[in-house]
Amino acid sequence: MAAEKPRNQTIGAVRRTFAPWTDPDKKPLIRFENVVKRFGDFTAVDNVSLDIYEREFFALLGPSGCGKTTLMRMLAGFEQPTQGRLTLAGADISEVPPYRRPVNMMFQSYALFPHMNVMDNIAFGLKQDKMPKADIAARVEEMLKLTKLETFAKRKPHQLSGGQRQRVALARSLAKRPKVLLLDEPLGALDKKLREETQFELMDLQMDLGMTFLIVTHDQEEAMTVADRIAVMNHGVLMQVAPPSEIYEQPATRYVADFIGEVNLVEGKVISASSEETRLTSPITPHPLHVTQGLDAKPGDEACIAIRPEKLRISLDPPADTSVNCFEGEIWDIGYLGDLSIYHVELACGQRIKVSQPNLSRVVQRPITWDDKVWVTFAPHAGVVLTR
């Protein structure tokens, strides 16, 4: 969340140099082509086109009912697209039944077979492939080791804790070494601490095994942590598909900006637009605002500026640097979170703006307090102009 990081350089540099979606010659592993899925009158997935590349950790993110699970279930073969094509490694799989697809899924409910012990659960898929017994035993052993379940091999699912069941489900879905592993809210049932640990385990696993992972989640932090790219969905439509840092720093729409993290949306009207910067008028200040991100607006457009709370600065005095945008307000409330404090600043126009400031020193003498008149500033590159 560090502010002022040079843009276009992304977090976790080693991992994120992987970017096959930028290479036009690269063939995607999974391709949704204008896929529509309707249930009666309800359109769950509305004309989605999406490419997912080999070895990618891809997240489908959105609120419940946004169609992300339906999209995944179509890939697993449990739902048929109403329209459109679905290809895997170049072959159309729309008509292939789920039991013939080289895709395995980890279910949200885990769906462990209650009458089989851990070993038999993991071996189930391998037995379907008529793998020789010795190979099955070896693979099961390997999976048990990978998921640290060796001592639980003979237990039945109801004798395991939630975290252990989650690992059995993971081991079972990985055992067949599928081309694509689908994870449906895989960590939803775990407590926060275990969930965070498991996120990193999943990332390591995906790297080590070199598989393509597709995860469905409504937890934006989870998606940001694990994924190479995120697709934000709402009402069956893809809102934006981009790496986590881009989703956060360069949201394409108000919806994405608002859905991911905290954001201030300031309404305005474009007065001039160039390839360098966009200038807008806004009710928050009598002066025009300069923004250098999101340059597709035209003069006269109604637009809004999205500014993350940590990219705003707050001070008791007007800024010396006149190149930054600034506006005046009054402290309405302060939320102390330990590592940071959130200042709610009420402006003359009535809008409240959230500003977060790291607590670099102890807060015993807080320079800014309730009802103080303050100046809020942000650099031209800190805001993004959104027209949608």
Partner: protein
């Protein structure tokens, strides 16, 4: 601790009601039947001796005990008297009926459990609906269907499928039809309750791991419905062994079932003592499956915890 005392008394009361019920309506009649089975036939009122004579005191009680014997059991267990055969034949007919019930009931229960949620209560009602008519009348109705002039034969002849009536009534086949028809709800309901609980994502998981639907039925659905299969089978098997009305009305003179033998012994031979012995032995025969059934229920309860 007065609280605990009150609580204990309350609990005792709640438990006492079913126990008293069992004591008065099961154990007491059973002891009376058992006593009669140890007595001898007599031309008297009641038609057996000895009777406990309280006026004689202790000596009377000793007299009474010395008058009891296992002679009736020896008589029943004597091969020449056909009771053993009747027990055996009852067990065979009940076993075959149970198997047929399973074959007919499982698809019905499966279809019900997979039907849309909204129509499941209606389907359940339809299964229970026959109970609203007397069991006896329903079995009688089968005579009308199965007899040579009955609906089935007339229908088949009208269609030209057969030239002369099939002989179904008064054969073992009619008994099987009668038992399967009458006991079907007892098979369908436990199967339905087991299948309805089955999580459908398990089948999706099986398919996802490469298991085609038919195989998934045998590796997932069927094993998980086994408690229902066992409950349904025993609920049908136990009463079918002692069934009397169906073999009497639909079966022929060759149909040998213990319930029918008991009835003949009691009404035609007027031997209270032998028929009591038959009844006690029937209970012993059925204790084994009843214990199995209880065991299964116990395990179900523990698994549910």
């Amino acid at each position: 601790m007065p609280m605990a005392g009150e609580k204990g008394r309350g609990r005792l009361f709640v438990i006492a009601v079913p126990y008293l019920w069992l004591l008065a309506l099961f154990l007491a009649p059973f002891l009376i039947v058992f006593k009669i089975s140890l007595s001898q036939d007599a031309v008297a009122q009641p038609p057996y001796t000895p009777l406990l004579d309280f006026s004689q005191g202790w000596a009377g009680f000793v007299d009474f005990l010395s008058g009891l014997s296992f002679d009736n059991y020896l008589y029943v267990l004597d091969f020449s008297n056909e009771f053993i055969e009747a027990y055996g034949s009852s067990l065979v007919i009940a076993s075959i009926s149970t198997l047929l019930l399973l074959l007919v009931g499982y698809p019905i229960a499966y279809a019900m459990a997979r039907a849309p949620r909204s129509i499941q209560p209606t389907l359940l009602m339809l299964v229970i609906l026959p109970f609203w008519t007397s069991f006896l009348i329903r079995v009688y109705a089968w005579i009308g269907i199965l007899s040579p002039e009955g609906l089935l034969n007339q229908g088949l002849m009208a269609l030209g499928v057969i030239d002369e009536p099939l002989e179904i009534l008064n054969t073992d086949i009619a008994v099987y039809i009668g038992i399967v028809y009458s006991y079907l709800p007892f098979m369908v309901l436990p199967l339905y309750s087991a299948l309805e609980k089955l999580d459908e994502t398990l089948l999706e998981a099986a398919a996802d791991l490469g298991c085609p639907p038919t195989k998934a039925f045998w590796t997932i659905t069927f094993p998980l419905s086994l408690p229902g299969v066992a409950a349904g089978a025993l609920l049908c098997f136990i009463p079918a062994v002692g069934e009397f009305v169906i073999p009497d009305l639909l079966g022929g003179s060759n149909t040998l079932m213990i319930g029918k033998s008991l009835w003949t012994e009691f009404t035609v031979n007027r031997s209270w003592t032998v028929s009591s012995a038959v009844a006690v032995l029937l209970l012993l025969v059925l204790v084994i499956p009843i214990v199995i059934y209880q065991n299964i229920q116990q395990r179900e309860l523990e698994a549910g915890k």
